[in-house]
């Protein structure tokens, strides 16, 4: 399984810096792993921690956030808000059993197309090494235990019909 495992990484990129850098990487014909799905946001400060947890819950193997370097935020303070949240969210995510490599925050300016390439390649390699997360199938596996009761509950229904007859 692991030889075919291609990680799915959700990448939230701020439009002013990292998204522009990803554009630059494309225009410069830099090649990097095709495993990221980029979601363009106006600012890294707009990224609600719910987005990150939701990405994991829906099957992402990793989440990458790209924002402007400290001091360079188009909205002055947005990336600091993102940084502070990321510090605590990293702890929450690890406390919930998700490896720390799966959640990454990087500052990448509009000029650093090559950095998009290095960061993405590096993250893909790390996640390939630790394997898939696949939360939707884990949730299914957990909930399989509730199927054990189906026989009993059908039995109860039969009893009900008998008593109503």
């Amino acid at each position: 399984m692991s030889e075919q495992f291609e990680p799915r990484i959700v990448a939230f990129f701020c439009t002013w810096c990292t998204y522009t850098a990803a554009d630059l990487a494309g225009v410069s014909r830099l090649k990097y792993a095709p495993n990221i799905r980029v979601i363009r946001v106006m600012c890294s400060g707009r990224i609600d921690p719910q987005f990150i947890l939701e990405a994991f819950a829906h099957g992402a193997d990793g989440v990458l956030i790209g924002g402007c370097h400290p001091g360079d935020c188009h909205y002055i303070e947005g990336n600091y808000k993102c940084l502070r949240r990321a510090h605590l969210l990293k702890r929450v995510v690890q406390d919930m059993g998700i490896e720390k490599e799966r959640f990454r925050l990087e500052w990448i300016s509009a000029a650093e197309g090559d950095r998009v390439k290095t960061v993405v390649n590096d993250m893909v390699a790390q996640i390939k090494a630790i394997g898939p997360l696949r939360l939707p199938s884990r949730f299914k596996q957990w909930d399989a235990e509730m199927r054990e009761l189906e026989a009993t509950v059908n039995h109860t229904e039969e009893m009900t019909h008998a008593s109503q007859a």
Partner: protein, 331 residues
């Protein structure tokens, strides 16, 4: 005289506080008895499961279930009561969002059983005996419910019509809900029967909440003398108010204690813990890694603090690296 509507109350993995809150209706309980027939309430009345089995499907007008779902028995009763009830209502934090019992979703079934039957300091069990789901001795069979791997909120097991939040819900909310059921004036299915605004809206300290909070350290309530008038966040105390639904009329903050989040999130929020994390962290004063880390040391257990009543209903539900062991096989 037309027959009174039938009401049932049931408890699953809960502490009994929700049952107390029904008695907390005080004189209003007489109004309840006048207007409805209580057909099933194990904590207070002598009806058995077979009495429920014998009822016609949908013959109970409303069934209030409190407590989270951990065992096969609770699962089965939830399914049975769903079948017999027109309205199934999740009553209290545990049924609504998983409650305190769902904090155990941070541990595996084996970790919990091992601690409870072997490692707990007050346990004397040299043979390391554990309960068996099925035991045959001298030709007699004994069974007990299976202990599941996961703690679930009620709607993760059966379809739920309405939710009454709180740990426990206030008598006022219960009374309002009962009146709504009796008059048939109910909102859209799936509604939480409490105001859809953050707790801050009804908190008497609201006016002292600064526009710009700037946390330099977090303190726990026993570490300082709390100013009874001032916003608790402004005093550096973690208060879940901004990410928690109102409706309790700020009982805790009026009692000089911070909100711990028992009413769950408002309808606009999916994951209460992530939302309060976002709100609190963005307002830290420090801008550098070291300073931020230092401030955050004041939150030693973020999962226990932010998901105190709602881990089962959070986006991740449970520590994701825990597996699922067989629960009904004999060991």
């Amino acid at each position: 005289m037309p027959a009174k509507p039938k009401v049932a109350l049931y408890w699953c993995a809960s502490c009994g506080g929700c049952e107390e809150s029904v008695v907390d209706l005080a004189e209003d309980i007489l109004f309840v008895i006048e207007n409805v027939d209580i057909v099933y309430w194990p904590v207070a009345m002598d009806f058995k499961k077979h009495d429920v089995v014998a009822m016609k499907d949908g013959s109970i007008s409303a069934c209030l279930v409190n407590g989270a779902i951990r065992t096969s028995e609770q699962e089965e009763m939830a399914k049975l009561l769903r079948q017999k009830s027109k309205l199934l209502i999740a009553y209290g934090s545990c049924a609504h969002t998983g409650g305190i019992p769902s904090l155990s979703n941070q541990f595996s079934r084996e970790q919990i059983l091992k601690y409870v039957y072997e490692e707990c300091p007050s346990v004397d069990n040299p043979q390391k005996a554990r309960p068996q789901v099925r035991l045959v001795e001298n030709g007699r069979e004994t069974t007990i419910p299976a202990f599941r791997n996961v703690v679930r909120a009620l709607d993760q097991v059966v379809d739920v019509d309405y939710y009454i939040p709180g740990c426990p819900p206030t008598p006022k909310l219960l009374k309002q809900a009962l009146l709504a059921i009796l008059s048939g004036q109910l909102p859209e299915k799936g509604t939480v029967l409490a105001p859809d605004v953050a707790l801050c809206e009804e908190c008497p300290r609201k006016d002292s909440k600064p526009i710009d909070l700037a946390f330099t350290e977090f303190k726990r309530p026993h570490q300082i003398l709390i100013d009874p008038e001032k916003c608790l966040l402004a005093q550096g105390i973690i208060c879940m108010g901004p990410a928690t639904r109102g409706g309790c009329e700020a009982l805790c903050t009026k009692g000089n204690m911070p909100c711990t989040g028992c009413f769950g999130p408002t309808s606009r929020v999916r994951d209460q813990g992530a939302k309060i994390l976002a709100s609190i962290c963005s307002n830290i004063a420090a801008k550098d890694d070291e300073g931020i880390q230092k401030t955050l040391e004041g939150i030693p257990d973020p999962v226990g603090t932010f998901y105190r009543y709602g881990l089962a209903q959070s986006l991740l539900r449970r520590r994701v690296d825990l597996g699922a062991e067989p629960t009904t096989e004999a060991r």
